[in-house]
Symmetry: C3
Subunit: 351 residues, 3 copies
């Protein structure tokens, strides 16, 4: 596919500077782009590379210096570039139906234009929307429901009764709806608490690889619309994760915690159970969250504290041995002073 710079600018809602008729057939970074390719400048620190890139066109932020290149000026070149990547490179594979080697139980309801790859396994009572793609090794347990335009990559499993909305993509090896980790001590052993709830994944959610989202004990573990979850994340039973959250790799969220909307969690964060994390909260990478976090806070550390306080305290931490020594020295100096001063002060008469 080739498109002129003018066509691309129109698609993006940008303004062309230079030759708008130049044809673009692909996209690349400032360093790697060549003849016939479009690149972009997002970080001002690389502005100098605009002069030297071999690209045939550059997406630039308003006000940037084009260095005589054919350019499209755009308010958000990074977002614009992402939209071009979609335009140039993303297309749904042609639907292929149920391929030989796929195991689809009798009575499964399936929408139009689905592709079920060899080695995928669909149990009785499953409902699939339109344009569902199941890669090899996907396992859908009985009663699972998938919406339209759902793609489940290799070896994803979805346990019985769980429901997945529209336009959801789940990457390889992720598990939706395995049992929550619930046991009651019976005085001698751990008695398993049956996990009879489900998981509901709402529309426009994307989930990375080898992540696990456990089914609720009684009700629903829910991932709300638009939230993005990275690889190797643990979301325990009965959690409710809000809309448009970003949960980075290796985060763990304990049972029954409720996360607001637009919450961002850095990598390897751990959140205790039965908490409320407010809207727009940001949890710094590796932080450990033992209590509720009010909306609009940025916190870090274990136990987490306001991010700026954490940065300052962490900066002092390496000086602890010196502080301890100085404190001890100071105690001696004060004791000596006290002795000296005691000798200088006239004795008070006894009571």
């Amino acid at each position: 596919m080739k498109k002129s710079l003018n066509e691309i600018a129109q698609h993006l809602g940008g303004r062309v500077s230079g030759d708008g008729e130049v044809l673009i057939g692909g996209l690349a970074t400032l360093d790697d782009a060549g003849e016939g390719q479009l690149t972009f400048l997002a970080n001002p620190k690389y502005a100098g590379k605009v002069a030297t890139t071999r690209a045939s066109g550059v997406l630039l932020p308003e006000g940037a210096e084009p260095h005589g290149r054919n350019a499209i000026f755009h308010a958000n070149p990074y977002l614009a570039f992402a939209k071009l990547l979609t335009l140039f490179y993303v297309s749904a594979p042609a639907p292929a139906g149920v391929l030989p080697g796929a195991q689809v139980a009798e009575g499964v309801r399936m929408g139009a234009d689905c592709t079920i790859h060899p080695g995928a396994s669909v149990a009785p009572g499953v409902t699939l929307g339109n344009r569902v793609v199941l890669y090899p090794g996907v396992v859908l347990y009985p009663g699972v429901t998938l919406g339209d335009d759902v793609t489940l990559h290799a070896n994803v499993s979805v346990r019985s009764g769980c429901r997945i909305g529209n336009r959801v993509t789940i990457h390889d090896g992720t598990v939706i709806g395995s049992d929550g980790f619930g046991y009651a001590p019976d005085g001698k052993n751990w008695y398993k608490i049956p996990q009879i709830g489900i998981v509901v994944i709402e529309d426009d959610v994307e989930i990375g690889s080898n992540t696990v989202i456990d089914r609720a004990a009684l009700e629903v573990t829910r991932i709300r619309r638009g939230t993005k979850i990275d690889n190797l994340v643990q979301i325990a039973h009965n959690c409710i994760i809000g809309e448009d959250c970003m949960i980075v790799s290796q985060v763990g969220i304990s049972g029954s915690t409720q996360v607001g909307n637009h919450v961002i969690m850095g990598g390897q964060v751990g959140v205790a159970g039965h908490l409320k994390i407010g809207d727009n909260v940001m949890l710094g990478a590796k932080s450990g969250v033992p209590g509720n976090v009010a909306p609009n806070q940025t916190v870090s550390g274990t136990p987490c504290i306001p991010h700026r306080e954490w940065l300052k305290a962490s900066g002092v931490f390496p000086k602890l041995p010196e502080m301890k020594k100085n404190l001890s020295t100071l105690e001696k100096r004060v004791a000596e002073l006290e002795a000296l001063v005691a000798r200088l002060v006239p004795a008070e008469p006894e009571a």
Copy 2:
């Protein structure tokens, strides 16, 4: 299935208050329960909801106020409720034998009433007990042995020669017996140390999803009877995990570490290698354990210290910048005092 409150009380060993003939057909939480359902009160802070729940019956701790509801009094309502969940909702699926699309090698020994789902793969030399269920994508390598009543969920793999006891459940995507991470420097590269041991999982163990338990270098990595392991946990080669432990999600235990009985590890704990963790130890979430831990200790932090000390020190941590400033101010005040006092003290004669 419906049962009267009297029948249920008899099953649990509890005492009925109110109408014992009311019929119960299901279970739900205080908030969600309705007509014909039984609920329970475990946390005294929700005692007020007993008055307003729409449930037809309530499981109450001895001494609680029934607010005129039909109730069963029980010493441990949470455990009792779990047992009722099992009674009402848990039943083994009817055994279905080797289903079409399952790959079972010749000569595999299989007990009675097994179910091998399509897409499961059983290698030569495997032995399966009675009532084993293998979901799609389960892979048993040669020589694996499973006991009775073992359920392996989708895409679990068990590597060659590993042995799993009775009444063991393993959730989706978990790997038992992959190679331990062992290499010796040969002066230039890393030389792989063959991992020729196995993993033994004893009776009544349950393991979550996408967890990994590596085979021993030479001998056995062992998970003892009754231990429960959550999702995304790493247990390295040659570890011995004791009986009735609880190992929460994303814990990592390094090689050759021996964990006692009834040990509880919170989420994201990391334990170094070649250690001994005593019986009844509790490791706080996210703690890092660099050395042995004596029995009956509760520790937290990295490196871990007694939990109460950690709580106190963590509480002071945010005040580090202020402490540093105060210490510095105090040093100046003491220096000024010293100068002042030096002027006040008569000069000593020189030696």
Copy 3:
């Protein structure tokens, strides 16, 4: 297979002491070895066990006391033992071709002596080298290339276009080339940035179970020759990991970070994105790395600092409450001194 101590010594390049004709049929630890087995002493703290082991031969470091045992002296007994394990226990399974139940697309190019197990799935456009082994549940997406002597264990998936070199082993459930975690805010939602790059795994790499290595946004996520990666590790898009690194379990490395050669990362380390980690760096277990690390450094903690400083500061951390109290007490003592001294110093005339 049995070999005499003399033959073994010749294979290893070691020197025999005692009876060189004794026959060895297997290997075991000092504690477990018996008649006909060879054991080894690597850690001097177990030197006493050489006298009591029931092994027929012992691999000893130069200068160790053989206690009258048949021994092979070697400069590096641990490495020598590993080489013997390989000699005695490691043999490639006989190649079996494409087994019934394997799904191999038409036109797939396959080298000599491959084994494709039942339930493995190979898409169109895949190229396999010689002696490739694909266990059940392995999924190769279109256009994947594997070199010679590649073994992919159960349920590994490799996404489209990714390239894997020679002598690479990947353990169960690991995912190579799923989408990097990239979204741009479009003012309202998260807009997915298509991930159109690939992953390249170079020669002699080994990767554990349930690890995830994401494909690059535009170019290549690369694991260089000889690097070893443990279980449950996250390597994000566009990372470059150098040669002969050791990356222990549950490490997470954020996007676009470049790691040098011979870097060692302990368990549960987290590294932020867009960083450079120099050659020969060691990152202590659980450390959090927010910035570049110069070559040859050993660092620990979050945020990481030089390891020795971290050890010292961590040792003081539990004393924080005491330090705070002492500082407060000292402030009071200084204030009292100041008051006392003020009374002793003659008033200065006012300006």
